[in-house]
């Protein structure tokens, strides 16, 4: 009877670990597919592991793709102490750069921070290069005031990009 509590705790920890492993293997936690007339709509869930190297603020992005199109929409959110509308977003690796001008979705102020939600459009094949690259890209946001740089933990990027590579393969294969 004395060991009841440690046993229950152990069972709960084991079940928790098992359920997290179950979750980690599922590709559908990364994306959704909506079948509709005029082309399937794919949505890759927000990825929020990027952070600013200076002020530790975060950046997250999601990707929407309509089958049959050559390009995909990347919507992204970042926070700053002052309003800093983005004009250009870039993904950098040592040997590749992907850049596009941005379109504002909204800017708001909440909890002492300015929230910026913007959109950019990238070629499907260009995005494939970024996600197939073995180096975690840095994201740069160019504003009228300065350039903000965001980086990601390599392990988190590898796990994420591995899933996205598979999703892009699914999209490409079903497009043919």
């Amino acid at each position: 009877m004395k060991t009841t509590f440690p046993n229950i705790a152990l069972i709960l920890i084991l079940l928790g670990t098992w359920s997290m492993q179950l979750n980690a293997q599922k590709l559908d936690k990364y994306y959704m597919q909506h079948v509709q007339e005029g082309g399937d709509l794919f949505f890759i869930h927000p990825f929020n592991a990027y952070s600013n190297t200076n002020d530790k603020s975060s950046l997250e992005f999601d990707i929407t793709y309509l089958s049959g199109k050559d390009s995909a929409t990347l919507n992204f959110t970042y926070f700053a102490k002052d309003p800093k509308p983005a004009s250009i977003i870039s993904f950098h690796t040592d040997d590749y750069m992907l850049t596009d001008s941005t379109t504002k979705i909204y800017i708001d102020f909440n909890k002492k921070k300015w929230g910026h939600r913007f959109s950019a459009t990238f070629g499907f094949n260009e995005l494939k290069i970024i996600f197939n690259h073995n180096q975690a890209p840095t994201i740069s946001i160019e504003t009228d005031i300065d350039i903000m740089s965001y980086s990601v933990n390599s392990k988190k990027w590898l796990k994420y990009s591995d899933a996205i590579q598979k999703i892009l393969y699914i999209i490409e294969t079903n497009n043919k």
């Binding site: 079940l15 997290m20 959704m32 909506h34 005029g38 999601d62 929407t64 919507n75 909204y106 959109s119």
Partner: protein
């Protein structure tokens, strides 16, 4: 005394767990998707999400309203709305509203 302490901890754990609203829930693990609404608008080219989260049933934050999800993708005509609910052992629970439209 130790038994009593263990019972209090377990009772406290069970009574303040983070469970998420869904048509079906699992005590150990929940990962479900379900519909919220459908409109008469046709076709979707955009998807927006909004999320709220609870930790141990003690702290819950976020805005998972349809308005917040639609705003995140600049959606002005909603086609349909789904939601996703996930939870692990009552420790962490997440509810995400997903809006499709244009």
């Amino acid at each position: 005394m130790r038994k009593l302490f263990a019972l209090i901890i377990i009772a406290g754990f069970l009574s303040s767990c983070a469970f998420v609203a869904a048509p079906v829930t699992g005590f150990i693990y929940t990962d479900v998707k379900a519909p919220i609404a459908v409109t008469g608008n046709t076709g979707s080219t955009k998807v927006g999400t909004a999320k709220m989260q609870s930790i141990l049933g003690l702290v819950a934050t976020g805005d998972a309203s349809i308005e917040a999800a639609a705003k995140s993708a600049g959606i002005t005509k909603i086609h349909h709305v789904d939601y996703e609910a996930t939870g692990i052992l009552g420790i962490i629970a997440t509810f995400t509203t997903v809006v499709y439209g244009e």
